[in-house]
Amino acid sequence: MERLRSITWEKLSYGRAIPIVAWNLLRHLVRERRFLLSAVYFVLLPIYLISNSVLTAVQTGSGIALFYAHRNISFYIRTFYLSFFLGQILVVVLSADQLAGEIEQDTYALLRSKPVHDSEIVIGKFLGLVGVVSLLDLPGYLFIYFYSLVRYEAEASAYIGTVDEIIGGFLLLLLLHSIIIAFTLLFSSLFSKNLYSILSSLIFIFILSIVTDLIQGTNTDIVDNYLSIDWLAQAILPSVLYHVDPLESAPNVPLIILGILGAITGFLGLTTLVMRNKEIF
């Protein structure tokens, strides 16, 4: 009975450290200069996009406003967040030192000197980074969407009626960023030097772009971006944002989302395995 109670308590206490690690990472990373510099890029980008992509509208009202809001958001995500290389470099730079840097500076030993599982540290770091990237993504995302609604004079009901679309699109964006964070953490765990984890993550993004190019095959409409993760967006966005069927060549949406979640889980699982067996000299 005593043993059973102790096992149950063990299970209940697992995960307790995850929000603590995540919150600590979030509140310290947002004060760092690299976050502020990244924020400059993430704020300037939508402004630049708006100034270049304002389409001439002959009609006004909710219909046309929503159309442009959706279209601009889709363009914003696909072309800039997913395809523009600098955005991904910044996500890598923010994430790469979370494990490698801790090992390099020997602060990881402090975390391991507390009753905390390596998986809790890894998941906590991951969630903290997702939080940081959300803070970078959200202002630009909302700005683009609502700018379009305001500019094309949408009716008041359009602001409330499209909340699910805003959330859906944002979650998709986060999901795609989360893949980058997850594999950057994996590389961060493999190396004890920050620089190596950054370089290896960038090389992996390059390899990923080649693989996704191969998967998308002969569809030449979307090959002009450096990183072709955007084919995923093209597959998912129509159903999320437009409530229409995805592209003909695209695989089905739930499968893609499951695939992304599976990939993230796989990367985090591998990271935990590496950290669990890592000797800290």
Binding site: S13, I20, N24, L110, V116, H117, N277, F281
Partner: protein, 319 residues
């Protein structure tokens, strides 16, 4: 006495080099245990093995019956660890760091606030709560590291060179603190150091290590029983005259400033009878009479030099 830590035939090879070799040790519960040895003896590697930072190449370690590599999380529920020159996050404030560590230790928000403040006060850092860690001196960082390992009052404390970067005042403070831990809270404390007087002051059990091996271990009383130094120092008002008289009696002497160094060479009883006699007859004022080295220093030198001779002969496993 129950053992808090049991090490059996432990070896660790790093890049093919033996850092710890077939080490066996029992550390009694509630003891202040010192790992003493010259630099490169394998003390820090042993500490890293004890705290699950490194995986043993062979052999086993049990801390309260658990393996630190496999059961690290369970062990650290009741163990604190202070690494050598602890690396602390430079951008955090002292309070936020210690509070964060207390939260990771499993304490609630309020409990961890109280605990953080209590431990900062214990190490004398209460005035530095809002200071940035990166701006603290080496000694203050060491104290902070010490406060961190005391969080939750664990039963076992592992301290790797705890006084290494402290100023003399800080050293005395930390040594006294360590000394009080075992007395007040029955904690088992393992301290590594290469500074013999510190180990002597802080601990009541020691193991002497050299080249990855434990040469001897036991309580201070066991190790120093029957150990006498041959060289004594005598302080007197007229050291030159006293030296002359002793040399006439066949003792080998040397003058070192105002003290006479004398090699007793098994003639201890003879000297013990002669000295009072000389004081009475010649009117010397004897100020002190003590062995040049203390007993533990003799034990240390005896075993380390023995080990070196053993290795020079090419004998393997001279424990």
């Amino acid at each position: 006495m129950n053992s808090a830590i049991q090490i059996h035939n432990l070896s660790k090879f790093i890049k093919g080099k033996a850092i710890v070799t077939r080490m066996s040790l029992d550390i009694p519960q509630g003891s202040l245990f010192g790992l003493l040895g010259p630099n490169g003896a394998g003390k820090s590697t042993t500490i890293k093995l004890l705290t699950g930072r490194l995986r043993p190449s062979s052999g086993s370690i049990r801390i309260n019956g658990l393996d630190p590599w496999k059961d690290r999380v369970k062990i650290f529920k009741n163990m604190g660890y202070l690494p050598q020159n602890p690396s602390l996050p430079p951008d955090m404030t002292v309070y936020s760091f210690i509070h964060y560590m207390a939260r990771l230790r499993g304490m609630g928000r309020k409990e961890s606030q109280l605990e953080a403040r209590e431990k900062l006060a214990l190490v004398g850092l209460e005035k530095f709560e809002q200071s940035i860690i990166g701006k603290l001196s080496g000694g203050e960082k060491q104290r902070l590291g010490f406060a961190n390992c005391l969080l939750g009052d664990p039963d076992v404390l592992i301290l790797d060179e705890p006084t290494s970067s402290l100023d003399p005042e800080g050293r005395v403070y930390v040594m006294d603190l360590i000394g009080s831990l075992a007395q007040n809270k029955n904690q088992t404390v393992v301290v590594s150091s290469h500074i013999l007087p510190e180990i002597q002051r802080m601990t009541n059990h020691i193991a002497i290590m050299s080249e990855g091996k434990v040469l001897v271990s036991g309580s201070m009383r066991e190790l120093t029983a029957g150990v006498f130094d041959n060289v004594y120092e005598i302080e007197s008002d007229r050291p030159t005259d006293l030296m002359q008289d002793l040399m006439e009696k066949g003792f080998i002497c040397k003058l070192d400033q105002h003290t006479v160094l004398i090699d007793v060479d098994k003639r201890y009883n003879e000297l013990w009878a002669l000295l009072p006699q000389l004081c009475v007859e010649k009117g010397y004022q004897l100020r002190s009479f003590k062995p040049l080295r203390d007993p533990l220093e003799n034990v240390f030198l005896k075993f380390v030099s023995y080990q070196n001779k053993f290795d020079d002969m090419g004998v393997v496993g001279g424990e």
